[in-house]
């Protein structure tokens, strides 16, 4: 599977929450897309990932 465009391999990654924990993301201010669709926060724990999923983790930065 891909995280922000980069290939990642880890057998322990089963759900979106696993990625958040493993990569130490701050869950407060992020949105997650799986294959271009927003997955709501309450589904992160239960959302099962499959091998070809493309995950994007999006947050805010300074901007005009």
């Amino acid at each position: 599977m891909k995280l922000n465009g980069k290939e990642i391999k880890n057998k322990n990654i089963k759900t979106l929450m696993d990625i958040i924990v493993l990569y130490n993301y701050d869950i407060k201010n992020i949105a997650i897309l799986v294959n271009d669709h927003v997955v709501k926060k309450k589904q992160w724990k239960s959302y099962r990932l499959s091998e070809n999923d493309e995950i994007e983790i999006i947050g805010f930065v300074g901007g005009g």
Partner: protein, 266 residues
């Protein structure tokens, strides 16, 4: 001057919106807010990489501040709509600044795609703030589409040239009933005052503050100019005159007109 004004159903006191791009550190944000009383900030949406230990901008924005998510980076309406939805998911805010640029040299907004994105997002319940190249017809279409305000550019982003599009912005301010927020190009306090004297409802400034030697002080200076310009607009800006009109009474007792050689009679 302390009168509140309304945008997208929110009552605001400050007519000064600030963009947070290019700031040397987000740590300045609370101080800028405290010293200017601004109520609206813009942010952009980007990938967050796992290893990044960079500052999280949200840690520096107080809860009472309205976050306007900017769709910069979008090249067409569909991308802008997508960014808007993601941004709103993160912030919980429905305020979206639509910025669609198909050009990288001038970052010129694509008015046509902006109208499309505005229609779509308004239908989905967003408060839409479209950033446009000043054009009255585009502004009318956006108003009809239900935009919350119109954001014409004063000059291109980051150019610090001021309100160079004055003749194109004036008719928008006159003809459009929703608020007009002049965005981009404002590089110094006098530009901000000019925008407000013209009758803009508010302005949005980013670069001039972010790259100033002292961003907090520059924000304060521009805030003063916004207030000054607004007060003058509310009182009524005087018309320009071609010839002098004495402001002190002419000395009536110097009666000898024959010796007065100042007259321009030929």
């Amino acid at each position: 001057m302390d009168k509140e004004f309304e945008i997208a159903g929110k009552k605001l006191k400050s007519r000064f919106f600030i963009g947070t791009g290019k700031l040397p550190t987000y740590k300045l944000i609370p101080d800028i807010i405290k010293k200017t009383g601004i109520e609206v900030l813009t942010v952009a949406v980007r990938r967050i990489n796992p290893a990044s230990k960079v500052e999280n901008i949200m840690d520096y924005i107080p809860k009472n501040i309205i976050i306007m998510v900017n769709t910069s980076g979008a090249r067409n309406a569909d991308e802008a709509v997508k960014i808007a939805k993601i941004g709103s998911e993160i912030s919980g805010s429905k305020w979206i600044k639509i910025e669609i640029e198909a050009d990288t040299k001038y970052l010129a907004p694509d008015n046509e795609e902006t109208i499309k994105a505005t229609k779509k997002l308004v239908q989905e319940g967003f408060s839409v703030f479209p950033y446009i190249t000043p054009d009255l017809i585009t502004a009318k279409k956006l108003e009809k589409a239900g935009a919350a305000a119109i954001m014409p550019l004063g000059s291109f982003i980051g150019t610090n040239k001021g309100i160079t599009c004055e003749t194109l912005i004036k008719p928008i301010i006159q003809e459009i009933k929703i608020p007009v927020i002049i965005d981009a190009g404002i590089g110094r306090p006098s530009h901000a005052a000019k925008a407000m004297e013209m009758g803009a409802s508010a302005i949005l400034v980013n670069t001039a503050i972010a790259i100033a030697k002292d961003p907090v002080k520059m924000a304060v200076a521009i805030d003063m100019a916004v207030k000054a310009g607004r007060i003058a607009y509310e009182i009524g800006i005087l018309a320009e005159r071609e010839f002098a009109e004495a402001s002190s009474p002419l000395t009536g007792f110097l009666k000898d007109k024959k010796n007065d050689k100042r007259n321009n009679k030929k």
